[in-house]
């Protein structure tokens, strides 16, 4: 199991968990859709798994390098760096300070940009790229890191259609390579294509296969008033506007 959590509680201040009772185990090559309403705890969970926040209770184990692609671009778009420069940052962690970045890493960064369909933009100033393109560069960076586990926080939000298709293909390929993906998403229908689904809303509502979890009661408990039931029993969500 590459990622495992037991009775995990996550939050920012001791005694005030944002999400609790998190309990799941994910194997290599599995992709997990993480469904949660805004404020439901998925970002907090991700930050805890990344080691940014100490857990408030319970335990978790991550067996391998872990990379993140965040929902909101907190990167400095005004920095004079190109797409290639950013992708190359994935190699920084494995290059000790007394060594220069290896030619092999540079080639890996190019290859990663190629995978996400941006190799012809490798010299473009990062801040000039579109939101979807920047998201793809960040995925390339995670690929260069050669991380076993990838956390993607709403990788499709605010992304143009072309980028969305590309990203989906890349994610499926990454899972096929044996990497573990945790994909936070609001797209219930898209979740059906992944191996597992984790539902959160202040606490873990469910974890299991899409068939087991994507049921009306589970989704109602997860999304509450945000849920809309369409015809033929398919579910949809109203996306609330939120500020971060």
């Amino acid at each position: 199991m590459l990622v495992r959590a037991e009775h995990l509680q996550a939050g920012y201040a001791p005694g005030q968990p944002v999400v609790r009772g998190v309990e799941f185990a994910v194997a290599a090559g599995q992709a997990v859709a993480v469904l949660a309403p805004n404020g439901g705890g998925k970002t907090t969970l991700f930050r805890t798994l990344l080691g940014e926040l100490p857990p408030l209770g319970g335990t978790f184990a991550v067996d391998g390098t872990i990379a993140a692609v965040h929902q909101h671009d907190h990167a400095r778009l005004d920095f004079p760096v190109s797409a290639l420069d950013v992708a190359l940052m994935g190699a920084y962690g494995r290059t000790p300070w007394w060594r220069r970045i290896a030619g092999a890493d540079r080639a890996a960064a190019r290859a990663a940009l190629d995978r996400v369909g941006l190799v012809d933009r490798e010299g473009t100033h990062f801040g000039s790229l579109s939101g979807g393109q920047r998201r793809r560069v960040m995925i390339a960076r995670a690929i260069v890191q050669d991380a076993r586990i990838l956390l993607l926080d709403e990788p499709f939000a605010g992304v143009d259609r072309a980028s969305e298709e590309r990203i989906l293909t890349v994610l499926e390929d990454l899972a096929a390579e044996g990497r573990t993906l945790l994909i936070a998403t609001h797209d219930v229908e898209q979740s059906r294509r992944w191996d597992r689904v984790l539902c959160l809303n202040g606490r873990q509502i469910a974890f299991g296969t899409p068939e087991e979890t994507l049921t009306a009661p589970t989704l109602a408990a997860t999304y509450g008033p945000e849920l809309v039931v369409l015809r033929e029993g398919r579910m949809g969500l109203t996306i609330q506007h939120h500020e971060h």
């Binding site: 920012y12 201040a13 001791p14 940014e52 926040l53 100490p54 005004d78």
Partner: protein, 266 residues
């Protein structure tokens, strides 16, 4: 009135005006603007000093020019407003120092003030400030509160900010005579911090005014007793009062780099 009494009157008036202003400056995160404007107006003072003209006049012109250039710089997309303002301020301050080298008024007085040399004109200006600033703040109290605590709801944010900055400019021009353009920041930042002890905003405004006036008076009296520079003594007492107004808050959980903490808009 003795020299010391005039200095006392000056600082008490300045304290009454700048105390509540300081609360609003901090609430609207304008400490950097205050520092920048105070430093950047030096050329105005220097030219007035070199020409033998009244400092109030030179200071006003200096502040207006500084404000315009800083506003221009703040728009910069390429470098970011903080750096652009820093460049503008450094350039203007350097220019002011150059111009003041051979002036009649020694550079030290421009930088650190001449509280014991307060003229009648300065006292009148301070009295006017002590009336105009609190009245204006009272008049725009509601928009200022909204701008500081619920900025998304502000209806005319630019006008409110402009009003605050205009008051800031006026306060700097008047206070610069006594404290100098380097130390005037004490009046604009310390009382607001000291005022935090009071639970609610209206009480903070009053407390800040009282502490500023009292600190000013204490500073003048101390300088008289100990023979230290008056303006600097006032500034130190103000800073000490701010220090006394601080409280220990619980630590946040997030581990963060010190440089990121500096960029935080708390």
């Amino acid at each position: 009135m003795t020299i010391r009494d005039r200095a006392l009157l000056e600082v008490v008036l300045l304290g009454a005006a700048c105390g509540p202003l300081s609360v609003w400056l901090l609430a609207n995160r304008q400490a950097y603007a205050a520092e920048s404007l105070a430093h950047a107006m030096l050329p105005g003072l220097a030219i007035a000093a070199a020409a033998g003209a009244p400092l109030l006049l030179g200071g006003s012109a200096g502040v207006v020019v500084a404000a315009l250039l800083i506003a221009l710089a703040a728009r910069d997309q390429r470098i970011g407003s903080e750096t652009a303002i820093a460049v503008t301020v450094t350039g203007l301050f350097g220019l002011g120092a150059l111009l003041a080298i051979d002036a009649e008024t020694p550079l030290g007085d421009l930088l650190f003030g001449d509280l014991l040399g307060v003229s009648d004109g300065d006292l009148i200006a301070a009295a006017a400030l002590a009336i105009v600033v609190p009245l204006t703040l009272a008049a725009v109290h509601r928009p200022l509160t909204v701008a500081a605590f619920a900025p998304a709801l502000a209806s005319r944010p630019a006008r409110t900010q402009a009003a605050l900055l205009a008051l800031l400019a006026a306060a700097i021009v008047v206070a610069v005579q006594g404290l100098g353009n380097l130390l005037v920041l004490a009046l604009l930042v310390a009382p607001g911090i000291a005022g935090r002890r009071a639970p609610r905003l209206p009480q903070q405004l009053v407390l800040a005014a009282l502490i500023a006036a009292a600190s000013g008076a204490a500073g003048v009296l101390a300088s008289d007793r100990l023979g230290t520079a008056a303006g600097a003594s006032v500034a130190l007492v103000l800073v000490a009062a701010a220090g006394a107004g601080l409280r220990r808050e619980p630590r946040r959980n997030v581990r963060r780099s010190p440089i990121e903490a500096l960029s935080d808009r708390a």
